[in-house]
């Protein structure tokens, strides 16, 4: 570092620092003004890993939104003859005839049952060719619940042909790829409401606690400590039992996350309180008070914006936590349950070593979880760095 009192020019400052206005020796160049968000974006773009995180996260949410279109089959569609069918390779060049030709196709399966173990074995049947095409017709669905259509991104050219499994099939012969795509929608969204409830509560209570101080602070802090001491897993078990049986599995899970978010705000509230306690002593807060700004104005227009960066990071980092929680709980059978499809529910299939050894592709939802969580973490990191105006 240079001397602390002469920091090097920061990136993103629109123009060179102005010469002292009263004694302009040199006319400065035309001054361009960039908004706060523009500056943030400029800095964010320089962070490679965060950019990658942003792109991957955007892809995941794109998949979540267009799941029905992207998945070749519905989440419950099964083909009983394809139990534990291995992934098929999508072929682009057709060499079966004379010379070679373009064309998307997969080879069919040839199933054999082992006479001794009665195990079903699949071999690629080079002879059968199942042509595949883009924008194929398949099952009908409603895009965004509005437009009824039967067009999928890809599918067998002949709607009556046996299904293709690019990522294999599961115990009941359901297409793994389709189920992962459908699971994306649930996994990436079901906890968002819970996260936002916890977020709002945390900022509100933490802010009041830190700014007002005194008795209010003491009461809120004791409440925080009480909630922090509640064991989450038994609470979850209890709630899972308490939610009415006649609710659908998704509604039940949703209800539980919302209830849990009333417990989960504590960590953020503590952080926000700490920030407020230190910010309260800052000169610019006193200055705002002397400018006649009222209490809500000081809290929400002067103090809160100065740690937006921190809040954004907390928010982005709490989404992966939510994804992981969903996965873990569903895996244990406490969270979502079939027929709802989520990554955790899919992983439930892979609970036994025997299953994994015969059908390792059942672990692929785990890869989706890892990718999504990593991408969100990088994104949060990059946002935090970019949002800090005093970052060196």
């Amino acid at each position: 570092m240079l001397q602390p009192d002469s920091p090097p020019e920061r990136p993103g400052v629109a123009a060179d620092p102005a010469p002292d206005g009263a004694h302009l020796a040199v006319e400065p160049e035309a001054v361009s003004v960039a908004s706060q968000w523009k500056l943030m974006w400029w800095r964010f773009r320089r962070h490679r890993l965060a950019m990658a995180g942003l792109i991957v996260t955007a892809l995941f949410y794109f998949v979540a939104v267009f799941a029905d279109f992207l998945a070749p089959y519905g989440s419950g569609t099964f083909e009983s003859e394809h139990t534990y069918a291995p992934p098929q390779t999508l072929r682009i060049v057709d060499t079966s005839g004379d010379g070679w030709d373009w064309g998307l196709y997969v080879h069919g399966y040839r199933a054999e049952r082992d006479p001794e173990t009665l195990e079903l074995r699949y071999a690629v049947d080079e002879a059968t060719r199942i042509p595949v095409r883009l924008f194929a017709e398949g099952e009908t669905y409603r895009l965004f619940g509005l437009f009824e259509t039967d067009i999928h991104l890809f599918g067998t050219a002949d709607p009556d042909a046996p299904p293709v499994h690019l990522l294999g099939a599961d115990r009941l012969g359901r297409d793994q790829l389709s189920r992962i795509i459908h699971g994306t929608r649930i996994s990436m969204s079901v906890g968002l409401i819970g996260v936002s409830v916890a977020f709002v509560l945390g900022i509100l209570l933490g802010g009041v606690s830190g700014y007002v101080g005194g008795k209010t602070d003491t009461v809120i802090q004791r409440v925080v400590e009480f909630f922090m001491s509640l064991p989450t897993l038994p609470l979850w078990l209890g709630l899972a039992a308490a939610v009415p049986r006649d609710w659908g599995p998704l509604t039940r899970y949703f209800a539980i996350t919302v209830v849990l978010s009333f417990v989960a705000w504590t960590g953020l509230a503590r952080e926000v309180r700490g920030r407020f306690l230190s910010l309260r002593e800052e000169d610019f807060v006193t200055a705002a008070k002397l400018d006649g700004v009222g209490r809500p104005g000081v809290i929400f227009r002067h103090m809160l914006p100065s740690f937006t960066s921190h809040l954004i990071a907390t928010l982005t980092l709490s989404i992966p936590a939510m994804i992981l929680a969903e996965t873990a709980l569903s895996f244990l059978g406490l969270g979502l349950q079939a027929p709802v499809v989520s990554w955790g529910v899919l992983l439930q299939e892979a609970q036994q070593i025997r299953v994994i050894s015969t059908a390792p592709w059942l672990l692929l939802p785990g890869l989706a979880v890892v990718t999504a969580v990593l991408a969100l973490n990088f994104l949060g990191d990059g946002l935090r760095d970019a949002a800090d105006p005093y970052r060196r």
Binding site: Q3, D5, P8, D20, D283, D291
Partner: protein, 720 residues
């Protein structure tokens, strides 16, 4: 670091005479940042003779600290020594060692660092580890370089602590840094730096963070230690007063180069380089309150990344020669023994105007104004009724202990203060840190709710005075625009998330609800920015795009946008560089005339107060111990504390260094939660008389017109 790649020179260089301990030769330290190469140090040559103190002086950003750190290989990445030599010759018969060629992590460098060269930093609290005791850190420094047993080291460390003037060294040996005051910590730091009897001590702004009284004692200590041990010192500072106090030789740095070198008397009596001249001129001097102005250097130090072509100082130089100074970099001209300067004006071959005298041609005009007060500037006309009258003001902060937060005592930050401020005058409020001057200022602005007392404020319309201390925040609203505050820290007091327009316009919408249409606010903000010397086009930019001085201008604009009558300037220029400080002081003075402002000027810097204020109040431990007109306070102080403060101020004149006995106060301010009985100052007073001073609280005594001093012997003591 590239330095170790170069061949280590083994032959003694002809440039290192035996009398010199350290010779820096064309040192260049550059920082390779994403935005390009920053040449923080760009060709510095400097010699440190045995047993002498060399002061490196200049504004911030001139490369002083980086030069000092380069000597010990302490430059952090991305900085590194590009070229040049640092010849180190601790004892004359040995061959000099090139420190610049050593790997900063090499054993040889570590032997030099701490063992042969010690270093003291600016922030004593920050440079001591909070997790270890003073003794622990001191013995560690010793045992790294000397073969000592733990017991020997302890014994030696205690002796060392005693040597740097720490009372009860056995007890302090086991103290943690946070248990000591700032001055004590700096003493401990010096003890550590001198633990192995180094030949050279590098002190990087060692007194900048300290109070003026503590600074004086630390300077005394350094001088004594230098005389005792015969060590040499490199003393980095921006304060010319300190330079005059301690230097034997001076090197003036500007933008990574030494522009002038010479003995301290040469520099102060016969400065040759325009930058040196300008620095000396911008020192605040007494008597500006009559309407004079400081000779500020125009502009500010440019960032080393965009160094001007030719002479780096030419854009700010009053005697710039077009076509020469802005194209050709001036060579260093030798002007005598150990004296040189880098300026074209001194070059005999350049047929040019004569070298600048103490007052260069271009700055003569303001200097004249100083001699003859401009008639346009109305002399402060103190009317009969004070604008603000503080009566018996108290501000106590509770001290809480235990789980239940029981109040066990009070810190009496402001304790029964009476103060009157008349319309149009500038009242200075001085004192050591922790004396309650900032708290008093904040009570007056009602940023705090005082515990007791009255703050009577007289409205512009006449009418009865209002007691601001009793008003609720809603009732205060009309007065918020009339009493405004300028804060000390230009970085902390501006919300980094707001544009200048929002920052300056906010008080308008909040306080004066008259015409708050967007365009009207924009016009007013633009107008205000122009008044404080910033371009109105900047109003949509964020504070981080501005330098400290510019931000302070923004703070001033924000304070003045509501057309206040009283402005509380809380250390408004303390965080600024010398030249920028002079600019801001001039601006404050101009605005006072323009808007008929009354200032309460809170500062620990007595020279600034002397130059700006009409009257001065001295605070000690929450009480005002003396108040008087500036002239009489500075010439005939009535309170021993004032006398001690005045005697501690470094005088920017090396000839006055050894004159007269100085009053030196003990470092420690008593705990304001438990003030001593009787006169609060009696624990540190050189004139105390235990019979009265420790028992009775002295009441203010009148010593002359408007001169009050709270001392039992006020008027009887001969103080100056």
């Amino acid at each position: 670091m590239t330095s170790h790649v170069r061949a280590t020179p083994t032959i003694a260089d002809a440039h290192v005479p035996e009398s010199d301990l350290l010779v820096i030769d064309e040192l260049a330290t550059h920082f390779h940042t994403d935005e390009g190469v920053v040449k923080a140090v760009d060709g510095v040559s400097l010699t440190v003779p045995h047993g002498k103190t060399v002061c490196v002086v200049g504004e911030s950003g001139c490369g002083k600290s980086v030069t000092a750190r380069s000597v010990l290989g302490l430059v952090d990445p991305p900085g590194r020594i590009e070229s040049g030599h640092i010849w180190w010759r601790p004892s004359p018969p040995t061959e000099p060692l090139d420190l610049a060629a050593l790997d900063p992590r090499a054993a040889a460098m570590r032997r030099v660092r701490g063992g042969q060269i010690g270093m003291v930093f600016q922030e004593p609290m920050a440079s001591l580890s909070p997790m270890y005791t003073i003794g622990n850190q001191l013995t560690q420094a010793m045992r790294l370089h000397l073969p000592l047993s733990a017991a020997e080291a302890r014994e030696r460390a205690i002796a060392q602590l005693a040597r740097v003037g720490i009372p009860q060294p056995e007890k302090r040996f086991d103290a943690y840094p946070f248990q000591l005051s700032g001055g004590m910590c700096q003493r401990a730091m010096i003890a550590i730096a001198l633990a192995c009897d180094p030949g050279l001590l590098i002190a990087d702004e060692p007194t900048t963070a300290l109070d003026v009284t503590t600074q004086a004692r630390i300077l005394d200590l350094l001088r004594e230690l230098k005389d005792q041990t015969g060590m040499a010192m490199i003393f980095v500072t921006h304060d010319l007063g300190v330079v005059a106090e301690i230097a034997d030789e001076v090197a003036v740095m500007y933008l990574g180069r030494v522009v002038e070198r010479g003995s301290v008397f040469d520099i102060f009596d016969r400065p040759q380089h325009p930058y040196t001249v300008a620095l000396l001129e911008s020192m605040p001097t007494a008597g500006l309150s009559a309407g004079g102005r400081l000779n500020a250097i125009s502009g500010m130090v440019p960032h080393p990344g965009n160094r001007p072509a030719g002479c780096a100082f030419h854009p700010r130089c009053p005697s710039m020669i077009p076509g020469l100074c802005d194209t050709i970099s001036p060579p260093e001209l030798t002007l005598g023994d150990r004296r040189s300067a880098a300026c074209h004006l001194l070059d005999a071959e350049v047929a040019a105007p004569p070298p600048p005298s103490r007052v260069p041609a271009a700055v003569v005009a303001p200097a004249v104004t100083r001699a003859v007060p401009a008639p346009a500037a109305p002399a402060p006309a103190p009317s009969g009724e004070p604008l603000l009258s503080v009566q018996g003001l108290r501000m106590y902060f509770p001290v809480k202990k235990g789980i239940l937060g029981r109040t066990v005592g009070h810190v009496r930050a402001v304790d029964d203060v009476d103060l009157e401020i008349r319309q149009g005058e500038t009242v200075g409020l001085v004192g050591e840190s922790g004396c309650g001057k900032t708290t008093l200022g904040r009570c007056i602005a009602r940023a705090l709710d005082p515990t007791g007392g009255r703050i009577l404020y007289r409205d512009a319309e006449g009418g009865p005075a209002v007691d601001l201390a009793q008003l609720t925040s809603a009732q205060l609203r009309p007065y918020r625009g009339q009493v405004r505050v300028i804060f000390q820290d230009p970085f902390g007091s501006l919300n980094p998330r707001k544009t200048l327009l929002q920052l300056i316009g906010e008080p308008l919408t909040r306080i004066r609800r008259a015409d708050t249409s967007d365009s009207s606010i924009q016009d007013q903000v633009a107008d205000m920015l122009r008044r404080v010397g910033l371009r109105p086009e900047y109003m949509r930019r964020y504070p981080h795009a501005f330098s400290g001085g510019e931000r302070q201008r923004v703070s001033i604009a924000r304070a003045l946008i509501t057309r206040p009558r009283l402005v509380v300037a809380d250390e408004a220029v303390s965080a600024l560089d010398v030249s920028v400080r002079a600019q801001i002081l001039n601006l404050l003075r101009d605005l006072q005339d323009e808007y008929r402002l009354t200032y309460l000027f809170i500062s620990h810097d007595l020279s600034v107060v002397e130059s700006l204020c009409d009257r001065v109040a001295v605070m000690y431990l929450g009480k005002i111990v003396e108040q008087a007109g500036t002239r009489s306070l500075f010439t005939e102080p009535g309170h021993p504390y004032t006398a001690a403060l005045l005697s501690a101020v470094p005088q920017p004149d090396p000839h006055r260094r050894s004159q007269g006995a100085r009053i030196r106060l003990a470092d420690d301010l008593p705990d304001p939660a438990d003030p001593p009985p009787g006169c609060p100052f009696h624990t540190r007073c050189p004139h105390r008389d235990s019979s009265i001073c420790a028992v009775d609280v002295p009441q203010p005594r009148r010593l002359g017109a408007g001169h009050l001093a709270a001392c039992h012997y006020a008027g009887d003591l001969v103080l100056k």
